[in-house]
């Protein structure tokens, strides 16, 4: 992803500073807010990436939008603006959350299901995550009817696919792959 490399370094620095100031949790909340706001608002993202908008305007707008930020977060926005890197703000926020979770050994699990999960199923899924990765997880549920049934659990780079759609597509492939048909 574009800017990921730079974002990783900024996130690392922010996290390290926040830890020293014992504000890591507060900054994490800020970053969640920033990530959510920026990704949900196309206008805001456009403004941040636009080279036409002056840095001072970007800064005042950001301070207006995010009023109750921790000092570390404010400092982070300052330094990003100063270095001309404010366009990757949301990527920095995402990387911060990833690194924060890594530090606390908490991972985000994304569960895709055909129907919304109830709390009992959620508990079962969390147990499965624990079994697969051995770490705690926060759960995010995506409802996608295309998978027909079952679920797809993804934790970081690991994916546990128990969906009906996958089995069907595999079956289709296996039937299509006919070695009794000449291909040249």
């Amino acid at each position: 992803m574009r800017g990921t490399r730079a974002a990783q370094r900024y996130a690392k620095a922010i996290l390290s500073l926040a830890k020293d100031k014992k504000a890591a949790d507060a900054v994490e909340k800020d970053m969640q807010t920033i990530l959510k706001t920026v990704t949900n608002s196309r206008d805001l993202e456009n403004m941040l990436t636009s080279p036409v908008v002056r840095n001072s305007i970007k800064k005042s707008a950001l301070l207006e939008i995010f009023k109750n930020l921790d000092n570390v977060s404010k400092g982070a926005i300052d330094i990003l603006i100063e270095n001309g890197r404010i366009n990757i703000l949301h990527i920095v926020a995402r990387q911060y959350i990833i690194q924060y979770n890594e530090m606390n050994n908490v991972r985000q699990a994304v569960v895709t299901t055909a129907v919304p999960l109830d709390s009992e199923l959620e508990a079962q899924v969390l147990a499965k995550v624990k079994e697969l990765t051995g770490s705690k997880a926060t759960l995010k549920n995506i409802v996608d009817e295309d998978i027909i049934g079952g679920f797809i659990l993804r934790v970081g780079d690991l994916q546990y696919d128990a969906s009906v759609a996958r089995n069907l597509s595999r079956l289709k492939r296996e039937l299509k792959d006919n070695t009794y048909v000449s291909k040249f």
């Binding site: 993804r154 994916q159 696919d161 089995n167 079956l171 492939r173 792959d177 070695t179 009794y180 048909v181």
Partner: protein
């Protein structure tokens, strides 16, 4: 259309479904960042290895060729049409490899070993052979000593190829490079029939599907498909498939080589493979060098051709060979060989281009085909003056070595004097003698397509030519004489030919050959 038997249909369906398990899978996955031109960049898959196969949602596979800090570059082994940005890619934990077994003989497969000839799955036990494998080390090799009979008179006599050798076949388009190699494959039928097959692998890179089909048909018609495997990456296949096809062929060859059997592999042709590799490299943004080829195009060919080898005869040493695939351990036998005949197409006879010079320097000699000779009717159009075999000499059978010893020199003298002959007839007798003999030798060395000669026949006719026994035969009757002479020898003097085949050239044999040739040639005397 043949009638379809319902029982057969259900049997095939059942077979296809028998391997199907509806189990959930736990995979390492990444996300496609961008895709285009047969290359995909993938975010995640932090543990993927170089050369590993990855699988896309559609079932399409790719090979990991670039490992960067936060993404990996993958070349796709098929059309990219179903891949979208954001779709998942999973590791297969498998280094690109091909499943080889006895059942692969007689089949046409693609780069990944999947049969494409419509004859059903590969039968029998298969062994997973990696496409990229290090060549055997020095200790596990031995010098080339046995001949690989090509069945082509001018090659077997003057540029002999030994088992385990790498002999380049080079020439312009339409000079008969493929024909030379196909004839060599056809000539191995003799050994197949005798129960000591030389397993042949024909790798077609970037050729028309119709050409490959025609070659498959020729081999089948002549009964050569029984010991031959065709690996095809046609012109319409993606560039990575074409790059890896020779490696797949080498992996198949190594299976035979390491199980103690002789194998012959034809790479048709490596210039197209280099072009495909250039395409892949440029798309992966690797810096271009001379003729826009990447810097490691030499290594691409050297590591491929280095895998052709004669393995040491000692089983115990052979068993410890380096980089043996897990699947093959315990099956290794010594004494096997892999002979490689790489082909290179030159542009307008330019051998000093990048790829030809590279491959010339890697191989143990070259067979040079020229369009001038081809057009003047000398076919196979082998230019013996600049064709060499650096190691094959020690592999030639004794009788052939004795008979053909002077042939190359004679022909060199003839070509030198040939120019004079064109100006007039005022030449002394000795010169005329050389020219007349040379003309007849050229006729003798001509040979039809798909018409390989057994070695004893070659020796018999070359003996007649080099001893100038054909001086009474007019040049345009040499072919006629040759046929008559060989038919007569085969019918009446089989024992003489058998002695020649065994590598002996006794006085008795010489007497027989001389008297038969003299008798027959007197008929042509005016």
């Amino acid at each position: 259309m043949a009638e379809v038997n319902p029982a057969e249909v259900s049997a095939i369906l059942k077979q296809q479904l028998s391997g199907f398990e509806s189990k959930a899978s736990l995979d390492e996955v990444g996300t496609v960042l961008n895709v285009g031109d047969g290359i995909a960049n993938i975010y995640g898959l932090a543990n993927a290895q170089y050369g590993e196969l990855v699988q896309f949602e559609s079932g399409l596979e790719g090979i990991v060729l670039n490992l960067e800090e936060d993404n990996i570059g993958v070349v796709l082994l098929g059309p990219a049409k179903e891949i979208k940005e954001g779709s998942t890619v999973k590791r297969t934990q498998r280094i690109a490899s091909i499943n080889v077994g006895e059942g692969i003989v007689g089949r046409v497969v693609d780069t990944l070993g999947a049969p494409i000839d419509g004859k059903g799955p590969i039968e029998g036990e298969t062994f997973e052979m990696p496409l990229e494998r290090k060549a055997p080390g020095v200790i596990y090799r031995q010098p080339v000593t046995e001949p690989l009979q090509t069945g082509i008179k001018s090659i077997d006599a003057m540029v002999p190829v030994g088992r385990g050798q790498r002999e380049l076949v080079i020439g312009d388009r339409q000079t008969g490079k493929t024909t030379v190699c196909i004839d060599t494959i056809l000539n191995q039928k003799e050994f197949y029939d005798a129960g000591e097959p030389v397993y042949c692998i024909y790798v077609a890179v970037g050729q028309k599907a119709s050409t490959v089909a025609a070659i498959a048909k020729t081999l089948e018609d002549k009964g050569a498909l029984a010991y031959t495997t065709i690996v095809a990456a046609n012109a319409s296949d993606p560039a990575p498939m074409q790059v890896y096809a020779p490696f797949a062929g080498a992996a198949i060859g190594e299976y035979f080589r390491d199980t103690g059997r002789p194998a012959l592999i034809v790479y048709d042709d490596l210039s197209k493979q280099a072009v495909a590799y250039r395409e892949v490299s440029l798309l992966l943004r690797r810096p271009p060098g001379r003729e826009a080829y990447p810097g490691d195009v030499f290594f691409l060919h050297s590591r491929l051709l280095e895998r052709a080898a004669k393995v040491i005869a000692d089983d115990d040493i052979a068993k410890q060979m380096n980089d043996l695939p897990e699947s093959l351990k315990g099956k290794v036998k010594g004494g096997g060989s892999l002979t490689a005949l790489p082909l290179i197409e030159t542009q307008a006879g330019d051998v000093s281009a990048y790829i030809p010079t590279n491959v010339i320097s890697i191989t143990d000699g070259q067979i040079f085909l020229t369009s001038d000779l081809f057009n003047s009717g000398v076919r196979p159009a082998i230019d013996v003056g600049i064709s060499v075999s650096r190691v094959g000499g020690s592999a030639q059978i004794k009788s052939m070595k004795k008979v053909a010893g002077t042939l190359k020199l004679d022909q060199a003298q003839y070509r030198e004097l040939e120019a004079f002959a064109k100006f007039g007839s005022d030449l002394d007798a000795a010169t005329m003698n050389v020219i007349e003999k040379g003309k007849r030798n050229v006729e003798i060395l001509k040979q039809g397509q798909n018409d390989p000669y057994p070695v004893e026949n070659q020796i018999a006719i070359i003996y007649a030519g080099s001893k100038n026994l054909l001086r009474d035969v007019p040049v345009d009757k040499v072919k006629e004489f040759e046929m008559e002479y060989l038919d007569y020898l085969n019918a009446k003097h089989r024992d003489t030919l058998d002695t020649l085949k065994a590598g002996k050239l006794t006085d008795e044999v010489i007497d027989t050959l001389t008297s038969v040739a003299k008798d027959l040639s007197s008929k042509y005397k005016k």
